[in-house]
Amino acid sequence: MQEVVQQLVNGISLGSIYGLIALGYTMVYGIIRLINFAHGDIYMIGAFVGYFAIRIFHLSFLPALLVAMAVSAVLGMVIERLAYRPLRNSTRIAALITAIGVSFLIQNTALLAWTPDPRSYPDVFPLRTYEIGGVYVDNRQIAILGVAVVLMVVLHYIVNYTQIGRAMRAVSQDADTARLMGIDVDRVISFTFALGSALAAAAGVLVGIYYNRIDPTMGSMPGLKAFVAAVLGGIGVIPGAMLGGLVMGIAEVAVVALTASTWKDAVAFAILIVILLVRPAGLLGRQVREKV
């Protein structure tokens, strides 16, 4: 029993990270129907910005987190402006190929600039472990969960109770009608990329602190898994992304606990294939009939 709860705690920590990354996928997909392949690499950039902010500028945890989020938000907007906006009206496959290209560009530039060697993250949190009824929880896990919950609440507020949030929802429902209503669609899309990228960067910094190591290819696997999490929860549905992330995290931790850790990368994709076949709209998504 203790073992199960312990794995659950670990799973929730990992799951919150997937959830944070998945939010960016889901928002971007909800608005322009594009799988932003570069999202995982923005998460990586976020981790590195946080790393440099702490190591070179000696910032403490929270300022470093905010700096990483800000830099990544700008990066997300720049990518959208340069690579995706010119393709707004072309085929979705063309946009997808471009996204793959952007992902490769970021990753390989980072490999060149920062070498493939992993770096150990600076120690901003002295590790403290608490024992609660035989279950071990450390302060890093608490920080991850805390930051994730705060960001979720902020996001929820922005999307549901602000003007830009209302514009986002309008654009995701029908971009053309939204434009007719006087909404600056380009600005809304830009803002969505900024928001999603900032969340991914936060996840990057948290992962750096939690696992204590970062490298330029760290974004590809969590990126793909977070996408799976977004699909699992129902792509385009914001609470779905967080739920999907948690389910993914727990499933992955469970598989590692029950079998060998080498199988963990297969779990995500097995889940994906099953969910796409059984319930393509995801756990919280609505089934939409396709109109001919």
């Binding site: 085929t91 199988w263 297969a266």
Partner: protein, 343 residues
């Protein structure tokens, strides 16, 4: 029935003359390379590069059948290649079966897997399919990492060097001929009809699921053969040879050449194999260049260098239109509407 000529030639503009000149030149180079390899005057290293180029031709042309002609977006080609590579290597190492038989079995196993994977996933559209096939490729890699018989992360060594320049060339030619003929058959038009507008194709009585799975399985079969050739050329394989990165490399070749152009895929595969070898000093920039190539192409010329054109279109050769084919062209109106909305 009146006998028709295989090809008809039309016009002879300057562009066509130049194209003929270029085609002749390429033919001469190919002849020279063949004689060179045969007589052993081409050095070992370069003939190795040529083998890899030919393997990439097979991969690119077969992926083009799925991505270019049928309009399904597969990102799992490396997975099928891996299956073919491992199956064929295990057969030659443990059972010592003859190489052509082994390649055939590699093709069959990959095709079967393509069928099994394709049947459920091809119900998905566009980007979902891309992710599902990507997931398939990753699962193959993870399985290979965990099995004992494949040597896990240590890889599989001691594979006999059975792939020669000529066997690779033969298989590449076969691939081009087979896929080229499929595309020019009525089945081929069904593939293109699925790409252009699935709903219209279905309305015209084309079994879209069948054709999607068919394209997927045929593409997988050739990828399996390419994997077999690759394994027996490298003499060592490990799961790292078949990552997502490899699938992307093949995709770049297809996209660069033109989604829906066999000629384009061949040229792109050869150029993208030989060019990085020539620019060895810039090796670490290779993936960056690939990435920029992908983005740039999509922004400037999303249809790729050749679009859907083939070498014959440049030479002024009109492909023969069989009387029978004409009567079977209900989807012709659909075919003409290029640039489907890509849903």
């Amino acid at each position: 029935m009146k006998k028709e000529r295989m090809f008809t030639f039309s016009g002879s503009s300057l562009r066509q003359k130049l194209s003929w000149l270029a085609a002749g030149l390429v033919g001469l180079i190919l002849l020279a390379v063949n004689i060179g390899v045969y007589r052993g005057t081409v050095d070992f290293y370069f003939s190795g590069v040529l083998v890899v180029a030919l393997i990439n031709v097979i991969l690119a042309v077969s992926l083009n059948l799925i991505n270019g002609f049928t309009g399904q977006f597969s990102l799992g080609h490396a997975g099928f290649m891996a299956v073919g590579a491992y199956v064929s290597s295990l057969l030659t190492i443990y059972l010592d079966w003859p190489f052509p038989v082994v390649l055939l079995i590699a093709a069959l196993v990959s095709a079967l897997l393509g069928f099994v994977i394709g049947l459920p996933t091809l119900r998905l559209k566009g980007d979902y399919l891309a992710i599902a096939t990507l997931g398939f490729g990753e699962i193959v890699r993870v399985v290979l990492l965990n099995l004992d018989i494949t040597g896990g992360p240590r890889g599989l060594g001691g594979i006999f060097p059975k792939t020669t320049f000529f066997s690779a060339e033969l298989v590449a030619l076969l691939t081009i001929i087979v896929i080229g003929n499929i595309i020019r058959s009525s089945h081929g038009r069904a593939f293109v009809a699925v790409r252009e507008d699935e709903i219209a194709a279905e309305a015209m009585g084309i079994d879209t699921t069948l054709y999607k799975v068919l394209a997927f399985s045929i593409g997988a079969a050739f990828a399996g053969v390419a994997g077999g050739l690759f394994a027996h050329h490298q003499m060592f394989i490990d799961p790292r040879s078949f990552t997502f990165q490899r699938s992307i490399e093949i995709l770049v070749m297809v996209v660069l050449g033109g989604l829906g152009s066999i000629t384009g895929s061949i040229i792109a595969a050869v150029v993208l194999t030989i060019l990085p070898e020539a620019l060895r000093g810039m090796a670490e920039y290779r993936m960056i260049v690939y990435a920029l190539l992908l983005i740039g192409l999509m922004l400037v010329r999303p249809q790729g260098l050749f679009g859907t054109k083939e070498i014959g279109d440049f030479l002024g050769i009109e492909r023969v239109r069989w009387a029978k084919a004409k009567s079977q062209q209900p989807a012709a109106g659909v075919l003409k509407s290029h640039g489907g909305d890509g849903r």
